[in-house]
Symmetry: D2
Subunit: 296 residues, 4 copies
């Protein structure tokens, strides 16, 4: 199978369950909603070493936000609900409450799981915080030096999917990276997914295990083209660089749509030779995303 002349490997991406919450951040302008969202989702690439996996889902116009202001929706992901509750509390408290002109609303109103993050943040008001009904939501108004911070009392969370992915095999680093950028741009317009790595791109795909006992994951040696002389690289000679796009999403369908859109974008960049995907032979994750089925 090929798309626009780029070969699509007959393999599958392997995903696993994760808990995630959507937060809608609004501000006086789109620019300031983005600043808060970037801070709140930073240091959030992988739960291996970050307190959460987090990213910007998409930009929202005023007709899609509770208060009619420009907004950004973000997804915050953790392996369990307890950690997710912590992530919400600290990331909203430190990076959104502190950001100029922002408000924070739940983006998963109907979820069964609800955290009273707003109720916990309200204590910052030192007794002057006030509960109210606004935009059909139960909110807290917390007085700040710069104005009032509006935060919803409850934030919903759901069972989502982590580890959606695809690999871009390219003639050189530049074409692989440009294809990755085009893919991330495309996915960034969709609802329901994030690409949590820096700029949406993973430079350092990993394999499970390592020769060092204390390390659970290490560089994916079979895909490291600088290891050709060491005899461990299994890629064909024409490939000299591989980037990975990792995708978390609210459900399987969202991941599929993002993978499809991202792969289509990547395949339009000259120098891209092949699209593949990372999996663990189905041993780790419960979700499988076969590329050929996806791209039909």
């Amino acid at each position: 199978m090929d798309i626009n002349g780029v070969q699509i490997d007959d393999t599958f991406a392997e995903g696993f369950p994760i808990k995630l919450a959507r937060v809608i951040i609004t501000a006086v302008t789109e620019r300031w909603a983005l600043e808060a969202a970037r801070e709140a989702t930073g240091f959030g690439t992988s739960v291996i070493g970050c307190s959460a996996e987090a990213g910007i889902e998409r930009i929202l116009t005023g007709d899609l936000t509770p208060d009619g202001r420009p907004g950004v929706s973000i997804l915050i992901c953790n392996m369990g609900y307890k950690n997710l509750e912590n992530s919400l509390l600290f990331r909203l408290g430190q990076c959104v409450l502190t950001a100029p002109t922002t408000a924070a609303f739940s983006g998963m109103h109907d979820a069964e799981k609800q955290f009273d993050t707003g109720k916990k943040l309200k204590f910052f008001g030192d007794g002057f915080e006030k509960q109210a009904e606004m935009y059909g939501r139960n909110i807290w108004k917390i007085p700040l030096m710069s104005g009032e911070f509006i935060v919803e009392q409850n934030f919903g969370a759901v069972d989502g999917v982590a580890g959606g992915n695809f690999l871009i095999l390219a003639q050189n680093q530049a074409s692989g990276l440009m294809a990755a950028e085009a893919a991330v741009d495309a996915i960034g317009k969709l609802e329901g997914t994030i690409t949590p790595f820096p700029g949406g791109v993973v430079a350092s795909g990993s394999k499970v295990g390592s020769k060092y006992k204390f390390l659970k994951a290490s560089t994916n040696t079979a895909f490291c083209t600088t290891l050709r002389d060491d005899g461990v690289c299994t890629l064909s000679e024409d490939v000299s660089s591989v980037f990975e796009i990792v995708i978390n999403g609210v459900n399987k369908e969202a991941i599929q749509a993002a993978m499809k859109s991202g792969i289509n974008a990547a395949c339009r960049v000259p120098g891209v030779l092949k699209i593949s995907a990372a999996n663990y032979d189905g041993k780790l994750g419960i979700h499988q995303f076969p590329l050929h089925m996806l791209m039909q």
Copy 2:
């Protein structure tokens, strides 16, 4: 005292010691160095609830970086060296090693305190990592799918200063925020300082203590203009919004230069009424930055 018609309060900012490290991140283009830097410094506004205080120091042209590529220097700050070592390991490992085309170098070669962060990150290479001397530095080459990640073996750290600050009292939220933006832009060009809050701006200045026993800090009620009717706001009637710029830096002189440059910028924005600063009557911090002396 006034600058450009804006009154400068006869008060001082109060700072305290912090440990900080400078990391130089380079990449194929400035844009990609910035992506890595933003991820690595995200969720890093205040050690009250973040694992570090972190920010972008400035953009570096190729003549200022070890490998001649475009770069960004960042500062990572923690209260103690042990936490700082952890921050370096996790923020570089999760957000720079994983970012496309990056390399990471120490920006404090001559510091007495040195962490072998690069030596710890090298294990990701699963035995295929190689030590070398490059650019006059002791580095590790770690094979990645996308190419090689170059990381310096040791990263230096020094005793720095946190909590440099000034307050912008404005006619309304928009003029205060625009002045804050102008101040952050000015400080962002200087060497030696960061403004770790979202977009460099603090919307939620705090006071020590709270009526809630479990909370060590709460909203600075005396500066909350929405609390005028409650009788706790001490600001004059013409002020309706206050933003704070918090500055961490490598030493006192860097903080002073940043405060001066930022205040000068803020005072050129229409609607700014007064510049003040946050302190704890000299009880908390050992560094004092009197505004009048600074702005002479």
Copy 3:
């Protein structure tokens, strides 16, 4: 009438006919499509002194572009078709053909008026250009040093509307400008309109005529708050700054949607006091956009 506490003047914007063409620019990434679009629409605020009025309509994902790559659609406007044909030829030839990795397609396939701009640009190929059918379109492939430039043979154009507008009356310059930014962000997501002035905002609204005979238009003195002492400013004392958003669009409905969306956004920014609109008592333009009817 008021929206979110901001008074809406009972007046109307006055528009007039203009000819306009939509061009779809695609490129390897969204970033490079934007660079070409910005260059091609620059120096294009008003036909009073620019060769065209031009602006970015919106960003297009790959599923909305002929070649499946990321794109940007722009509108180019002139008073007559002859000037518009010239604008297309020179702006596409100088700013899109010269831009890295771009292609240019007509965004008005079904328009009755069609210009053979692509057929004229093809001569740059020095005889090596080739005609082809691609993406269901009649295109030319022009060989460039960096690759091939794909340009559609014909570009359609229609009778559009210029001069849609509204005025933002604000407590100070910063709040007026932030409201203008929020309005432009909102309009920028819509199909069918552009805001051709710098950053989408007009700082210098004008009136017809001048005390200087050689000048057809001059500053709108009645709205200049620095002329209060001269007795010519008719604005109430609380207003200190007025910004205008000027909108061109493919038809009346597109202008209406943009005005509505922009006004709604502006009215959510603190410090905005009133929304009004510029007209010439119905003497100049044939299109009237009454604010109250619009905002119902």
Copy 4:
């Protein structure tokens, strides 16, 4: 000769004289100074089809601008002083006077050639404009709806140099473009030069003359890799894409510094094979920039 493993051709860039003016645009924030600068320098790639060649020289902090606000300096270039005077009048009048919160100052105070552009723009004030001395300069205050527009009476201009350039020969389009981006980033920090093409990059290098008599310039067929089968491409087989960086500057030294900085940056991008330069065998221009002498 090679730099970082990239071969530097033993050839020279050929430049010719041009007239140019520097304008310093300031605004309330850097962002808004940039918006005005982008509009004022748009549709300004080549005087072959644009009314001027124009670009952003660099970003200026408040300590480098007359009014202490953030600024951007731009260069506007024309073949003769008469056209340059027109360009200044129309580009400042349509794109800077109209832009929010801007002021415009001469960046060439000591030049012998001076245009009274400010004196001509002042008529927009309809008699309410006022002359004054501010920041040690002779300026006009023109009342606008949004505030006052400050413009210097005279703008200086000098004999500069156009057509500085170098060529990036690359393995594929993506690596060539990334190298071009890195080069433009580097040049963009320097004083005295601009790269007037879209995003600073030329995709369509040309040769003098054409098989079509009415065309003075056409695609540089010898460098078009898609014309290999036609037997006209003279590039070696490994090259598949060539980008050009064209540089205008205030003098020869500025061009030399920019070329050196840009080439150094480009040579650090993987996939770049060779650096060359465009010339006309010394027949067209009076300035020669030999690459080997430059890069020593």
